[in-house]
């Protein structure tokens, strides 16, 4: 690697245009990471605000605030934005900032591609939400309104908000494929001398497998939505039974992307959490190899279990049994990960700073998400959970701890490295406890609502569901407020605070803690040697 060994005089100085042009032109992984993370947090707040309108509507039976057609747009955009606008860019942002620092590389392998990958996102997000806001202003029929699953043939009926969403999905797909290529090339080729595959940080392992899954699944979704576009405007009949197609084909295509997507979101966090646990227990990671093997297992299983989302769509007995048993198999590699995480904690020397709290919060809540997933795997009982609030609660227990608690853990853990300031520990603790309480008060009632028979995606409900919905709405607003504490804490940390040392946390290990805090604009122009 000739690049890696080149040093130029005054190497740590930043040479870049100032103002807006810096951000548009930048090929620096740290700049791009900051943009990814900022974008993700803005999307989190937008999609969060949308769902708070939904929760406000569901506070009481009857229609008070929004009409059903608008309600459907809100739930759809909430799902799409959270997955594609918040969760994936947040993880990509963390990877962009930290992968080069953790593996001792000067930058990502493909810096221009990196810039392009990010700058596709904002226009894609605008495409996704523009019809919604135009609809609010009385122009057009509003945004996409089919639920984030975009089931055919309902998606044939929607207005041009659907076409915008299709193009947006294409762009988001291109963006994440570019980012994935970059991660794979970087992790495989740019590691510091001496850092063998089996010495790589687990975060690099996790994101590498996420990238591989993404490259496998995103083209399938792109193909699927292209077929939808053709059905809508060019007279094909892929999803139209009257023309020889099959609406259930869409479900297969969608869930072939949609299920692995869960692990796309999980694996970077599963890779990140051991670093945090190890730092705050002052104890080496337990079962490093076992964790990597488990990630391989999860990566493989993720693409062969998709139709467990479709047990009520109608499936042969053999199909049901296969998808049930293969889904249950995921519990094994996941259990290995949990075992290793807990074994890392066991007999450590524990302190509970904010990143550690979020990492623990992730383990506990995601644990419950995983266990309820085992229940949902049962093909015969699944109809009682499927498309009811039990399912909604389950996947929020799987996704929220992963994408939000996990990302928060990472952000709080590395914030001193990024800003050069320690964060306000007291605010961080407030954020954690308010979020934890808000989250559980929101979603525990939803398990009970589902068991009592409340379907999802309804703007109004029978009277027997009124009490728990009220509790859930209160919880949702508490949860929403917790994110404002987070934003305030980050702003505060950027502006000032106790000076952070190179090794900001006592027990932190890894190359990223060998560079100063804040990390200079260019790092590891000379690659460090790893023993």
């Amino acid at each position: 690697m000739s690049v890696a060994t080149t040093t130029h005089p005054g190497g740590h100085e930043a040479h870049h245009p100032s103002g807006l042009l810096r951000w548009i032109q930048t090929t620096n992984h740290k700049d791009i990471a900051v943009m990814y993370l900022t974008f993700a947090v803005i999307m989190l707040l937008i999609a969060g605000a949308m769902i708070l309108v939904v929760r406000a509507e569901l506070f009481q039976p009857g229609l008070q605030i929004v009409q059903p057609e608008f309600f459907n747009q809100l739930i759809t955009l909430h799902g799409l934005i959270m997955v594609f606008g918040f969760a994936m860019p947040a993880a990509t942002g963390l990877a962009n900032y930290m992968l080069p620092l953790m593996i001792g590389a000067p930058d990502m392998a493909l810096p221009r591609l990196n810039n392009w990958g990010f700058w596709i996102l904002p226009p894609a997000a605008v495409m996704l939400v523009l019809p919604f806001f135009l609809g609010l202003g009385g122009v057009g029929a509003g945004g996409i309104d089919t639920g984030w699953t975009i089931y055919a043939p309902l998606s044939m009926q929607s207005g041009w908000g659907m076409d915008f969403a299709i193009f947006s999905v294409h762009m988001l797909g291109v963006s994440s494929i570019l980012a994935s290529i970059n991660v794979i090339v970087t992790v495989l080729n740019m590691r510091a001398p001496g850092m063998t595959f089996w010495k790589m940080p687990l975060f690099a392992h996790g994101f590498l497998y996420t990238a591989i899954i993404l490259i496998t699944i995103m083209p399938v979704l792109a193909g699927g939505v292209t077929m939808l576009l053709l059905d809508r405007h060019f007279g094909t009949n892929f999803y139209n039974a009257a023309g020889g197609g099959d609406p259930v084909l869409w479900q297969h295509i969608f869930w072939f992307m949609g299920h692995p997507e869960v692990y796309v979101l999980l694996l970077p966090i599963a890779g990140l959490v051991p670093h945090i646990l190890s730092a705050f227990t002052r104890k080496p990671t337990y079962g490093y190899k076992a964790q990597v093997y488990s990630m391989w297992g999860i990566m493989f299983l993720s693409v062969i279990v998709w139709a467990h989302h479709m047990f009520t769509s109608g499936m042969s007995v053999g199909g049901q049994l296969y998808f049930m048993y293969s889904t249950m198999a995921i519990s094994l590699p996941l259990a290995v990960l949990f075992f290793c995480w807990i074994a890392t904690i066991w007999r450590g020397s524990l302190t509970f700073e904010t990143p550690m709290l979020f990492a623990i919060g992730f383990i506990v809540l995601f644990g419950w998400g995983g266990l309820t997933g085992l229940v949902l795997a049962d093909a015969a009982a699944d109809p009682q959970y499927h498309n009811a609030y039990f399912l909604v609660a389950h996947f929020h227990y799987a996704l929220y701890p992963t994408t939000v608690f996990g990302a928060m853990a990472g952000i709080y853990y590395w914030l001193p490295k990024w800003t050069g300031h320690m964060l306000d520990e007291r605010l961080g603790q407030w954020h954690f406890w308010v979020a934890l309480i808000g989250f559980n008060v929101t979603f525990i009632p939803q398990f009970l609502l589902g068991l009592a028979g409340m379907p999802r995606r309804i703007p109004d409900y029978p009277l027997m569901f009124a009490d728990w919905n009220m509790v859930s709405t209160v919880g949702a607003f508490v949860l929403g407020a917790s994110h404002l504490i987070f934003v305030w804490n980050v702003i505060k940390c950027v502006r000032g605070g106790k000076k952070a040392e190179a090794r900001a946390w006592e027990g932190a290990e890894g190359l990223e803690w060998t560079v100063p805090s804040p990390a200079p604009y260019h790092t590891f122009e000379t690659q460090p040697a790893v023993k």
Binding site: K283, G314, A335, F338, F339, I345, A380, H386, G453, Y461
Partner: protein
Amino acid sequence: MRGVRGELVLGAALALASATATAKPFWAFPDPVTPIARETLHVHNLFMAVIVTLFFAVLAIMLYSFWKHRKSQGHQAATFTQPNSRKQWAWVLAPFAGLLILDYGVFGVPAYHAVLSYEDTQNNAELVVKVTGSQWLWQYEYPKEGIKFASHLTTPRDQIDNKAPKGENYLLEVDNPLVLPVGKKVRVITTSNDVIHSWWVPAFGVKRDAVPGFLREFWVKVEQPGTYRGQCSELCGKEHGFMPVVVNVVSQAEYTAWVTKQKEAVAKDKELSIAVLSLDDLKARGEKIYATNCTACHQATGMGVPNVFPSLVGSKVITGPVEEHIKVVLNGRPNTPMAAWSKQLSDADIAAVVTYERNSWGNKTGDAVQAAAVGKLRGDSR
């Protein structure tokens, strides 16, 4: 280690006690009334008891560690990173062996039987009912008996808009419930006219999608007479939350009487399809049909919803040739929420509703459309 094990056992005992001691744990489904629902509830209770126990057992271990291994207590970190002795390996592998048994034994075997029983739709079925989902109502058909009717939500709009107090069965009441005989195995076939819907009655333990262009099936054998309620559970557009399922399960004698009455109604409808009615009679009949089938989109005022559902007031279709108007109602508009009503409404119904639309809200064409005219177009339309 002794302390951990103690807490583990305690946690397990507590969870199991709560699951078994009370007949109905807090996580139970609505009371089951079919063999499938009972079997499903049994599997569900088993799964829940196990996962709740597991969750709290592991949480207890974590909490113990948080308490015991704090740095502030001066606890020194250990350095182990993997099992080293044969005994440690045994401790590590035991949970996974346990999980394997749990997955494919404790869960897998009862789940296997439950799946087989769920799919046993055709053996010894004594009655066949076809359920067709439609935006936004359910149609029920008894093919052998020749009975067919639609089932709409009857909750008044005022209750939904909070202008009137909500009734006991708010959003769970319909005009024509499905009627089934108690104790008979019924094979239910589902399909849809437009988008995917999903038919669900929690007390029956069954949910099955209604997929347009395809037939799906399930079976129920309801063991207790009564009225059972559920809702559509696949997002099917604007009124997804407003197409409930109501099933009246009655004794065999009541069921037979009901079938006879329905057959009479069918005969009467046939008469109507050849009768010639006056404009006023057609309008009066049409107003009712419009109210149950059309107001969700086109609104009671006929004005629709701007940009989403077209207004019928002074519209080209309504004021133009009658044939075109009838064809739109019969065949719908492809790729829009405008459904093809040919399968759901009889000739007499369509004639009445078309007449109503052409002579209401300021539309004054004066046409009295007769059932025969619809029947003629129905023949041509395919």
